[in-house]
């Protein structure tokens, strides 16, 4: 009886401890979300004191908006390539670093370096590289597509942004995978060696299951980065040429601050929120139960 009472007091204390966090979360996250949804039902221009509630008219218009559909296609394609690129490169790098090569610490620092740079700076540096250096490389290797600035090419500009993005985005996943690899118990590999397993079998049956939680995390991080890509597009192509690299993030910004259609822009961002929420839910369901717990 006495014990039960104590337990309840603990629960109360736990609850009280979470209150400041809950308060901040509600104030800084939940309230804006609700307000944002409200504004998406209006025709507010972002300045005016007066606006009309238009119901779901913004959403209806969005469904027919070909420019917005184009940005959704671009963003999804971009995100898929970003995730594949980041996972493959950072996992490979982590495996190499984990194989006790000489100067491992040095290379760890080198690969982590891009993470400390500001996104805008990286974007502007790459913009200059594509403008001044890459055409020279294209001429030297005799590849016609690279001989002019790739950012001027509607089909290639996306890869210009991706390359810069992957270069910086790989740093933290590499570290995460490296830490994940360190978590795999060495005796499992020894046992597998005794059983005569090949290197691929060891990777497939031992390493991979241990890395599943890391995969989930890297996947969600890159998914979020990819779907909300903004800084790189803005600093490298500005959405051009001809809107070929306009992402959902940049079109939201442009609708709100250039066209001054805040209601419509919030509707766009609600759609982006729904896309991220649905994909994250599916991803969490799919990987649940597949990971190994030590």
């Amino acid at each position: 009886m006495k014990k039960k009472f104590l337990l309840r007091e603990d629960t109360l204390t736990d609850f009280i401890i979470t209150l400041p966090g809950l308060f901040l979360y509600t104030l800084l996250f939940m309230v804006p979300v609700v307000m944002g949804f409200f504004y998406s039902l209006t025709d507010w221009n972002g300045i005016s004191k007066k606006f009309n509630i238009v119901g779901f008219a913004n959403y209806a218009a969005l469904m027919k908006d070909t420019r917005f559909a184009g940005t959704v296609r671009f963003t999804v394609y971009y995100t898929v390539l970003l995730i594949i690129g980041v996972v493959v490169i950072s996992l490979t790098t982590a495996l190499v670093l984990n194989s006790r090569i000489k100067g491992g610490n040095f290379f760890r620092a080198v690969f982590f370096f891009p993470a400390v740079l500001s996104l805008m700076t990286v974007g502007l540096i790459f913009k200059e590289l594509y403008y001044r250096v890459l055409p020279l490389v294209g001429e030297w290797l005799n590849i016609p597509a690279l001989q002019t600035n790739i950012l001027a090419n509607e089909d290639l500009a996306i890869y210009g942004i991706l390359f810069a993005n992957i270069w910086t985005a790989c740093a933290i996943p590499t570290l995460l995978f490296y830490a994940g690899l360190k978590n795999v118990p060495a005796d499992l590999y020894e046992a597998a060696d005794i059983d005569g397993a090949t290197a691929f079998q060891k990777f497939r049956r031992i390493t991979l299951p241990f890395l599943i939680p890391t995969f989930s995390m890297v996947f969600i991080l890159q998914l979020k980065l990819g779907l909300s890509v903004f800084d790189y597009v803005l600093s490298i192509t500005g959405g051009g040429p001809g809107g070929a690299t306009e992402s959902i993030g940049t079109i939201i910004y442009n609708t709100a601050f250039t066209d001054r259609r805040f209601g419509y822009a919030t509707a766009e961002s609600v759609v982006l929120f729904l896309i991220i929420a649905v994909i994250s839910l599916i991803q969490v369901r799919m990987t649940r139960g597949k990971e190994v717990t030590v």
Binding site: I47, P241, R261
Partner: protein, 421 residues
């Protein structure tokens, strides 16, 4: 970036709170003592969008304070004025004086009643008639028009002389000059087609130059009475646009503003099509450069007119508690003597009567403007997001070189832009 912006917003808010706090007590005193000069008091805040004239404005304020010692003027030039102004408007905390004018989406501030109607103020008599007329919004003046920018062709005098090229006075002569430069292995024109706004600037200046657009075309397209595909002037603008781009860099779509400026300033390209604001940037990129400007020619020398636009204007906030002090400041600024002092420091064309500006590079354009050969750039007549639609269509035009597709896109863009407004 975000954090930086937040910091600026905080500072701006603090400043304005301070302004309101001391202002309310002072304005009470001001109204009881009447409106005589010298007795005006209070604190006013100016939100300035032209960061580059910050120093000049501070000098002007110091001079103003010699005559009005009781008015405290706080100058606030945060950089990202559009966003700051929007936040201030939403928070119901407008600065007393706002200069931001170059973005036509700011018509919204006027139409939502944020600014005072200045039409009947005595000091508006100091402004040139054409500037007053061309800056009317719904028949009234909400800004004190102060200086104007103009759009022209910047050229490298040394390259022109070395290749024996005279200043072109018609479009055909401009093309011929470009041919000559191209034959000599020099890129004739540096474009910055990655930067959407630079595409839009050339586009709407050409629309004004070729068919004197005053907004009717787009209005008629929106009403279903016309179409860009059948409009000869619009087609000609698109053709000229492409023709000029034949003389640009092959990959101009990937070139940013700074990159184009550095190419021009370092002699890699002979010309650049830009507004008066470019001069100081070119000079800081290469102080030794021998640069001059000629007006963007029309089809004939007689048709050549300069596209102008108000670059700096002052509006007074409707909700300002120190309107008297704010109006006194505007009145003082518009005094020809003070406007001359400003012009001597700043160098742009003044919109105040009797002010002479002597920037040698702009002499050829000023000559045309004072001969009445100028037009107000058409974007001010359009629906707010039309500029954006035009810019994007122009960028695709440069990429696809397909005039028909461009004109169709304009038709579609107009319908989108005008449906919203």
């Amino acid at each position: 970036m975000k954090r930086f912006l937040a910091l600026i917003l905080c500072v701006a808010l603090c400043l304005s709170l301070a302004a309101c706090g001391s202002g309310s007590s002072a304005s009470g005193g001001g109204s009881s003592t009447g409106t005589q000069e010298g007795t005006v008091s209070g604190e006013i805040e100016i939100l300035l969008h032209k960061v580059e004239i910050n120093e000049i404005m501070n000098t002007m304020i110091a001079e103003f304070n010699k005559e009005y010692p009781d008015v405290k003027v706080v100058l606030n030039a945060p950089g990202d004025t559009s966003t700051v102004l929007q936040a201030r408007a939403v928070a119901n905390d407008m600065p007393d004086i706002v200069t931001f004018t170059y973005n036509n989406s700011d018509l919204a501030y006027v139409r939502d009643g944020f600014y005072l109607d200045l039409t009947d103020q005595a000091f508006m008599q100091n402004v040139t008639d054409s500037a007053l007329e061309s800056n009317k919004i719904d028949g009234k003046n909400y800004y004190l028009p102060y200086i104007s920018n103009a759009y022209g062709v910047y050229y490298n005098v040394d390259i022109f002389e070395a290749n024996d090229i005279a200043i072109p006075t018609t479009l055909d002569e401009l093309y011929a000059a470009c041919e000559k430069l191209q034959a000599a292995g020099i890129t004739p024109i540096a474009f910055s087609d990655q930067e959407l706004w630079t595409l839009g600037h050339l586009g709407d200046r050409l629309m004004g130059l070729i068919f004197d657009d005053d907004g009717t075309l787009f209005e008629e397209i929106a009403a279903g009475e016309a179409s860009a595909t059948e409009h000869e002037g619009m087609r000609e603008v698109a053709e000229i646009y492409l023709k000029l781009h034949e003389y640009g860099q092959p990959d101009s779509l990937g070139v940013g503003y700074e990159q184009a400026i550095s190419a021009f300033a370092n002699g890699e390209a002979a010309m650049m099509l830009q507004g008066t604001w470019l001069l100081s940037l070119v000079k800081s990129a290469n102080p030794e450069m021998n640069v001059d400007v000629f007006p963007l020619p029309g089809r004939t020398a007689d048709e050549t007119r300069v596209g102008i636009n108000m670059d700096l204007g002052f509006a007074v906030s409707e909700s300002s508690e120190n309107q008297e002090a704010a109006l006194a400041f505007l009145s003082w600024m518009s005094d020809p003597e003070n406007a001359q002092m400003f012009a001597d420091m700043e160098g742009s064309t003044s919109l105040i009567k009797g002010v002479e500006v002597a920037t040698p590079e702009f002499a050829k354009m000023s000559e045309l403007i004072s001969a009445g050969k100028s037009f107000v750039i058409p974007r001010g007549y359009w629906a707010p997001s039309m500029v954006n639609e035009l810019q994007n269509a122009l960028q695709r035009l440069v990429s696809s070189k397909d005039v028909d597709q461009f004109l169709q896109e304009i038709d579609e863009g107009v319908k989108v832009a005008y449906a919203q407004s």
